[in-house]
Symmetry: C2
Subunit: 329 residues, 2 copies
């Protein structure tokens, strides 16, 4: 015996497919008799009927699926909570939210979303133009560059605010000459340059000299060299805002080997609030993001794009970032 269809339910209950559909979709305005209604529900349950999403999608022309396309971002850990929340809030609205991971535009992505026929595609990076075109042609809405600064309204998250908040905190602690640890990695381009820009602006706004920027890689040598540049040159800095916690922790380790005391000789602030941040000694001051709020905000944007319903209500950016002060500042 194959899968149970709505026709099976109809036959078994002695009604028409139409009635089954009406009952199961709650189209009660059609005025189904209470008894018929009960009978259908009972029968469907007894037969273990599960409606075919494909059948429905075929008829409706589009699946109830939100497809998120994730490029090779180095933020996996932080996104986990985000994914859970986005999935849950979209599920409430009757949509499934699934993720497609890809590195290089290898096989055209079209090959993939063809199989899904999503109601919308949410691209966390940017899609190859050919894919964007195909989507448009198929009439599937595309939400692109979710993480980009210019789209901060969608998520309520503006990367520039992150850098700004770091600098403001350091300034409040009395620091005037501030270093910025940038990461020289194209994968981070949606994040690092905007944060640096925010830090630069904050310095300007506060009347501080421009931050002393050093490009690092993830290596001890690179971190050591950076520490030397910040502390030994002319105009040494007294505090460093790091692009993220990982970089900050590498810098922290380098300070130890160079006998530079944190935070007395050099203050340090990261971003992300990684689990390891609170375990370091001294524990790392950092900036945490409330990804739950971001996900909820994105949900409203997505739904409004699908339904052309009410426009999304933008989240309050201020509420999303939190300074987590520990022992390095």
């Amino acid at each position: 015996m194959g899968r149970v269809t709505s026709r099976d339910v109809a036959r078994e209950a002695g009604v028409s497919q139409t009635t089954v559909s009406f009952v199961l979709n709650g189209k009660d305005e059609h005025g189904i008799a209470a008894e018929t209604r009960r009978l259908v529900l009972e029968t469907a349950d007894r037969l273990g009927y599960v409606p075919s999403g494909i059948g429905r999608a075929m008829r409706k022309g589009r699946g109830q699926v939100v497809l998120c396309v994730i490029p090779d971002l180095p933020v996996a850990e932080a996104m986990e909570q985000f994914k859970l929340t986005l999935g849950a809030s979209l599920a409430e609205a009757g949509y499934a939210c699934v993720y497609l991971h890809h590195a290089k535009p290898t096989v055209p992505l079209a090959q993939t979303w063809q199989h899904i026929q999503p109601a919308i595609v949410v691209a966390f990076g940017s899609l190859p133009p050919s894919d964007a075109r195909t989507l448009k042609q198929a009439g599937i809405p595309l939400l692109e560059g979710v993480l980009a600064p210019e789209n901060a309204r969608m998520t309520g998250l503006n990367q520039e605010d992150v850098g700004r908040l770091q600098v403001e905190h350091l300034a409040a602690r009395g620091h005037r000459r501030i270093g910025f640890a940038a990461l020289d990695d194209p994968r981070e381009s949606p994040f690092c340059p905007p944060r640096l820009k925010g830090a630069r602006r904050a310095c300007r706004d506060l009347g501080l000299p421009a931050p002393k920027v050093v490009d690092l890689r993830y290596s001890q040598e690179s971190a050591s060299a950076a520490v030397t540049k910040w502390t030994r040159g002319t105009n040494p800095v007294t505090a460093v805002a790091a692009f993220n916690d990982l970089l900050a922790l590498a810098i922290l380790a380098s300070c130890r080997t160079q006998d530079i005391t944190v935070p007395d000789d050099l203050a340090l602030i990261g971003v992300d609030d990684l689990p390891i941040a609170s375990l370091a000694v001294p524990a790392l001051t950092t900036i945490a993001m409330d990804l739950t709020a971001i996900a909820v905000s994105l949900t409203t944007t997505v739904l409004s794009l699908i339904d052309k319903g009410a426009p999304a209500t933008p989240a309050d950016p201020a509420a999303i970032l939190t300074l987590v002060q520990r022992d390095t500042t």
Copy 2:
């Protein structure tokens, strides 16, 4: 103008839908004239025809989609490479691989995969029984507990081997009294207990005393207390195998505050080879997993389950784990 269908292509090319389908699916055994073939391809291309996955799925009874269900695992970062590889190798076989993230079994998952109608469901955790039942009823194959030790053949990854490898390395460095840092967190239950078991067995096989196990949490206090237990009690240990790098790094920090020199007073080995592991001072010895190999291995398992084709060729577990020796052992 709405989406371009195969009927549009047929009309425009002056052939039948049948011919269009044959050409586009490479059913050349039907002997399509070369000229007709060329014409169809050219027309499809000109109109920007993209076949509807839903139409095909409807006809075939199942979508060309592999749905991976991911519970709230704390291994996100490590899975990233895995996802990319799995996605790429399944794409080669003509399947799209998408991920569904969920925390608690909130909404029945059925609600979701209904929308997708996948060819197979791959559950990284275990599914609620009701969902498993519904899947079976719908005739959708389910691959459950991919990460569980008893299914090591699917992925080629046996968590027990991880603990064993740690102990073997420490023993080779001359250590006889070994501690094990376990993590007291249900989210880690697919990983931590098996690794500990492997460590225990390795100790037995090597004629060493059983490992001195301490349950930790992710906190400095917890790590400090553990270090004290290992180093101050009767029968102090000379080396610790930590469940993962994060725990190992917390222990490393605690050693520093307690003036315990690593590796001379206490050797330390982690698991995961996190980016931060090589940035710590001293850099952490750890065990890396080749997730690419695991993903390839899983692909063959998945495809064999879909096609009932040739059984999967299991990967060689030995090839997947690599000892990364650095400065803590």
